[in-house]
Symmetry: C2
Subunit: 249 residues, 2 copies
Amino acid sequence: MDEASFLAGYDPRDYPAVAVTVDVVALTIRDGKLSVLLVERGEQPFAGHRALPGGFVREETLDRAALRELAEETGLTPGEDDLDRVHLEQLKTYGNPGRDPRMRVVSAAYLAFAPSLPEPTAGSDAARAYWVPVEEAKDLAFDHDEILADGLERARAKLEYTPLATAFAGPEFTIGELRQVYAAVWGEELHAGNFHRKVLSVPGFVESTGETTARGGERGGPRAKLYRAGDARLLHPALLRPTREDRVR
Amino acid sequence: MDEASFLAGYDPRDYPAVAVTVDVVALTIRDGKLSVLLVERGEQPFAGHRALPGGFVREETLDRAALRELAEETGLTPGEDDLDRVHLEQLKTYGNPGRDPRMRVVSAAYLAFAPSLPEPTAGSDAARAYWVPVEEAKDLAFDHDEILADGLERARAKLEYTPLATAFAGPEFTIGELRQVYAAVWGEELHAGNFHRKVLSVPGFVESTGETTARGGERGGPRAKLYRAGDARLLHPALLRPTREDRVR
DNA sequence: TTAATAGTGTCTTTCAGACAATATTAT
DNA sequence: ATAATATTGTCTGAAAGACACTATTAA
């Protein structure tokens, strides 16, 4: 069966037209708070609501489409900027009929972990995008509340058994900064001493640069040693979230 | 902006036509071996190759489309049969240009965990589908080798921290049967004594029926106690795979 | 009787988490 | 000097894994 007969056998009119888009849950930590990149919608439907950045997939891979959307909305350029250090992974695909009132839209959602990026610059396409603390990101357009919730759960789980927390930090970081990443994403403080020892005990999680910070903390304290991400893809043993009995059932 | 102007603003001709399909990685355990449901392709492209079952998404949710495809290929009926005990979850979406040589096809892949289902019956639509041990499932059509590999990795990981192994067993099972599920999926034997104690120590993993098997094992042994799945959604503590140092980097 | 399997006991090592102690540095 | 933070030490309990042992049942 060649393409012609394939197309003849499956008349596109037998199936309603479907649009394929990508939506991006881009997370970063700003002012110690886990934040998500949102865009302001000026048009119906959901005019005035905020939404996850996204758009149509072109003649490109889904991964590439997600990176392109992220670049467009942040105003940053792949190849320059910190956009190369952004971790991007597919989250889940949403395709319920009616999720977009205009037509059938199937959207592959992506999850991005970004180091602290600059506020999208005014005057560009990205002017309508900005970072919002996740606890203030409510009442989003379409089914984006659900997508964001799924993304947050994925992010929280991934910190446990992968070194992705380092994707939120700069190229060099202190153990304390890494701890603050975990605290921001999990929404709870962690015991500094135990965290410190645990991170260093996981093979390949971090490696020492041999350097220390130039200064101590804002309000005093010794200068901390600097580390960079190690070569581990999985953390073993994992850094488990503080046990919540009610999480299990 | 109403639908008319939306469609006017986004002329479908600006974007190539995209087809949306679902593909299903349906796993079960047959004769102690982890097996996957495959269909024989009679037509080009990939005529003579085997492929994952799948098809076009209709006016339905993606989840529903996956369940429908699974029902069609197995010849089983939701509402009857064991199809209700099948666990279905979204795996990942594949949309690289060129993955189908005929046109742009974006496919949402699903992962199914099934108790031992009957061989699809001849004479039906399902006649061309059959179960194949995963180690013999090579050289599949399209990018289905990659999809299967992703599905297997997901399945192996999920056995660690969820009670999904029970989805491979019948409504009542012995600890030994549950151990064989883990052994088949992970591809390695597990220590019977330690496994037994560990399963019973995880709250909500299994609950006793108070009954035992009618007979002992084929070649002797005591009658084993029967259990059914408990109410836990997550296993805490998890049943970790035997440590493979090389898995970590 | 023999072999296979179910289920339990025990010991060692690792790890999580609580708590404490010391060292260093900004103010 | 004072307070804050980095880093290390110690202890307890949970859990993994190795090994051994007893009990039960099919052939």
